[in-house]
Point group: C2
Chain length 584, copies 2
């Protein structure tokens, strides 16, 4: 393609709200354009890249025996009512009525729709396992779209769903999909993409993994052991903390005037926050109090808490609600709580530590030497579960080594759903004994546009993206300098034609712009290989060659050897994206 014809202006400036490399370069390079908040048009450059990503997705899904289908974007609400999600999912699910007044929605994920297929088309154990996938438009009515293609409202997703006759079969297939995902992210050119344990959130199910492209701009925090044996999303990460195990001392009330925070009381008593117990009050969806105790140096992980109490939305309780429970804000503790009447959740950092400072449930007083096993009344009604937020440096639960914190962009996720959808929706099959059983399901998603953006986050310099060969919009960028000189034009035209004839996807800058301008455009377009023809190189029957990531370095190569040289370079760069190539 000739650059003069390529639709999509390069821009000098990024929009003010663009903070991340991918957002900046996707706009500046003419890959995408904003239509409305969270809605983008992919321009030809962006569409070329996403089509290559989609092709890789198809190949890898076909490799794991997937069959491509296409479900509608617009779905009837009744399907989601069957699974119970119509009521459960919040306003990110876009609901509307059609012209006949029927409740409809825009699919943000397609478990219900695919179950509708499976329950009619998969009848016998002989047809299992089976996997269906699609590459299709999704809509999620995000309150705050951000960061270009990282968090949008409408997006293209590869979503895949597997159906099994046993948990064992699911687990084996899940492992195959995990491997396929590792291959995919390698093939699209991500340099560092980690699979981590994750919270399955609104999808439900037991085991799930996220694939995180490591990038400073990532929204997600990952805790990883240095040897890589443990990796988990902040929402589910656990640490193997050491707890004080001293002999219990007698409870002892002390005067702690005005000490309403952990910092206050620790400073006043000359103790560390880890020697105290923090009381945190939440309210659930029904406005009922949830009393949470955690060691004073730790923070409550609300994702863990929501999951523990199976409540999708929680918020802090106000003083009124706290007082109504018979406690004193700022000085509350388990000592003043009737665990039969109030929901209490205690982190092991409290239940397993000795001699903590707790509130005395009395204005301006605390108690020394609280020991849960001795002092907590109604212990049998209290839920003890890990609800602590992991901190960088906390010991890894597997190895004890200090955990590292990384930032990542979630580019894919896989879930073992079990029978969460198949059971309520009667998605059954007949087993070998002719008995009807619900299918065991898995699901597997990758956002195409976000994957493209994540590649930029990992592969760019100050001037633009450095596209991996496998998904680059073009393979070779040919620039003619002083192209209004007929011999340059002729040499460029010939070279361009010979590249095309050799099946090489070439972009040809035939505009006759000045070198600096042409190179800046080339940097923004980020094609991996660049050829520059100028009167100077032509005089030597040469072409200047450089790889996009060589910075200022370049090489001169003989004009008559360009074609085999470029073909060799393409092969070498493609090899970097081969799934069997070890990551640098």
């Amino acid at each position: 393609m000739k650059l003069s014809q390529l639709v999509g202006q390069r821009l000098k400036e990024a929009p003010r709200d663009a903070q991340t490399a991918s957002h900046i370069f996707l706009i500046r390079g003419g890959y995408v354009r904003l239509v409305s908040a969270g809605l983008y048009t992919l321009l030809p450059l962006g569409r070329r890249i996403t089509r290559k990503i989609e092709q890789i997705l198809r190949e890898e899904m076909d490799r794991v025996d997937g069959q491509e289908i296409r479900m509608p974007v617009v779905l009837p609400a009744e399907l989601w009512e069957e699974s119970g999600r119509y009521a459960k999912v919040g306003s990110e699910l876009l609901r509307f009525k059609d012209r006949n007044g029927k409740d409809m929605l825009l699919g943000m994920t397609h478990e219900e729709a695919v179950v509708q297929v499976a329950r009619t088309e998969l009848v016998s154990y002989k047809q299992l396992p089976s996997m269906l996938y699609q590459i299709q438009t999704k809509y999620r009515d995000e309150a705050r779209p951000r960061a270009g293609l990282i968090r949008v409202r409408e997006f293209t997703m590869k979503d895949a769903y597997s159906f099994h006759g046993s948990q064992d079969c699911l687990e084996k297939y899940y492992e195959r999909c995990h491997e396929a995902y590792v291959r995919i992210f390698k093939r699209i050119g991500l340099k560092q993409c980690l699979s981590i344990l994750s919270d399955s959130g609104m999808m439900g199910g037991a085991v799930s993994h996220e694939f995180m492209a490591i990038a400073d701009c990532g929204e997600d925090t990952i805790f990883a052991s240095p040897d890589g044996s443990y990796r988990a999303n902040r929402e589910v990460a656990v640490a193997k903390l050491a707890f004080a195990k001293d002999a219990p001392l007698p409870l002892n009330k002390v005067h702690t005037p005005g000490c309403k925070t952990i910092a206050d009381v620790a400073a006043f008593l000359k103790l560390s926050p880890a020697q105290t117990c923090k009381a945190v009050f939440y309210k659930d969806q029904d406005n009922k109090l949830v009393f949470v105790c955690i060691r004073g140096d730790l923070e409550v992980n609300e994702a863990k808490l929501r999951k523990a109490i199976q409540c999708p939305e929680i918020d802090f309780a106000n003083d009124e609600l706290i007082r109504a429970a018979g406690t004193v804000p700022g000085f509350a503790s388990l000592l003043g709580i009737d665990a039969k009447k109030i929901r209490v959740v205690v982190d092991p950092s409290v239940s397993e530590s000795s001699n903590l400072v707790v509130g005395a449930n009395e204005e301006d007083h605390h108690m020394l030497n609280f020991n849960f096993a001795r002092d907590a009344a109604g212990r049998e009604h209290i839920m003890i579960t890990d609800i602590a937020t992991v901190r960088e440096g906390d010991p890894c639960p597997l190895t004890g080594q200090p955990l590292q914190a990384l930032k990542g962009i979630e580019v894919g996720n896989i879930f073992q759903l079990g029978t969460k959808y198949s059971a309520p929706m009667a998605c059954n099959y007949l087993d070998q004994d002719g008995k009807s059983k619900p299918m065991i399901m898995g699901c597997y998603g990758i956002g195409v546009g976000r994957a493209m953006a994540a590649v930029i986050e990992q592969c760019h310099d100050d001037y633009g993206p450095v596209w991996p060969m496998a998904i680059a919009p073009f393979q070779v960028h040919l620039i003619g300098l002083n192209i209004n000189q007929p011999e340059v034009r002729q040499a460029c035209d010939n070279l361009y034609q010979s590249l095309l004839d050799a099946g090489i996807d070439a972009l040809y800058d035939d505009r006759g712009e000045k070198a600096g301008f042409a190179f800046a455009d080339a940097d923004l377009i980020g094609v991996p290989l660049r050829l520059v023809v100028s009167p100077k190189t032509l005089a030597q029957s040469q072409v200047e060659f450089k790889q996009r990531n060589w910075g200022k370095r370049s090489e001169l190569i003989a004009l008559d050897g360009v074609l085999p040289f470029v073909q060799q370079q393409i092969q070498e760069l493609m090899a970097l994206c081969r799934p069997d190539t070890p990551t640098a």
Copy 2:
């Protein structure tokens, strides 16, 4: 792929509402499944076919210098307000509010969205002409979805938009697109697809063509001259009717008791309906009367009428409205009308005919010998324009030969839009003199699913589709009979593998079903080439071969020559879909 693993049951019965071959076979063959009215899931068979169609569309769009983009399905209402269509288009445009209360819609076509791209990305005449296209999901909230994939609510469409600096450039490019469309429909295997003049309807613009796949179940009626020189949709077709040109006789009132219809009055007066004038009363959107006169044997073509009076919605007027205009229902005519006060439209069949019978505007009376040029008061206020519905056998406007009526399915359309969108939306470019001018636009659409359905309508027998090789879900269907015999299984497995190794897309029926059952499935799947291995053929080292459209005929071919034979067959059948092959 093994048939035992293919997701999508074959069904013995079609749903009760399925009347057309495509609807029946798409369901019975397991190509698609209904999700909700007008919403379908494409199962693997259907998706395989649509992907092949999409690939052909891409190739042909790229051939006419198209650049692929992807615009959102969900669009902000403000874009459609700019063009004025947000208010104009009816309830087939699905409107909703997002979570922030902003007015949004589901795109049913993307002129506004692509103009938003063009007006920022195309700046100079140097960038024109330019064409952008996408293959993407559309939603149209049809009141009455019908006939399977023929009329749905959600569908995949290839929509393309071209931008030009002059009408001349548009017209030349329009011609190229017309040729591309002819190629496309040939390549996907349609046997008879005619391009016809059409009404541009809500799209606006001057010239437009529809591509009609000829099929008895088609919703559209086409009038064509026997030599093909004239073809037009019923909505715009014209005929070169002969009108009586006798010397005017004096007006003469006659008593016609109870003769309220043309049939009554013609019978009573022993004249033919063509010797009478019919008065038809409509009301426009503002409930204002529109009085229409047409020769008694002709029918008003409401599409023409709507276009003539530039009123998107009309309906019959009630007697009250008719009487309020001072006329007598059943006996009304131009003789009783004040054309200054009432909108009057007269067909040339009335204005150019002599001595017609018209209503006397008096109960139970008509007038003989009405002559428009003599008797119509206020003629200068009357619009005279063709609003007649063409009938089969009417003379062709070009050749005078009797027009034939054909039924067709609209599988594509192309429009010369002119500046209908670019002018109101300020989609301008700078011409060679640095002047800002609105771009001249064209647009070009093809529905992918409907194209697939149209192919079935033209290519099927009583037992299922007969897929053209170019879009067939598989190239070869291999059936093993008595496959539980180890030597049959082995021979089939070997043959299947050798087909795959040769790059042939083969479906392998490895289920061991009885011949009749297996053949019925094969007919429904419609793969163009079929190989059957059985103990009987194996004993002769042979394979039974047939083409899908051979009926009961088959051939025996040597097992060791199958591969080159099949490759040859594939080439021959592909050649039938080559755009340079003359249509049978």
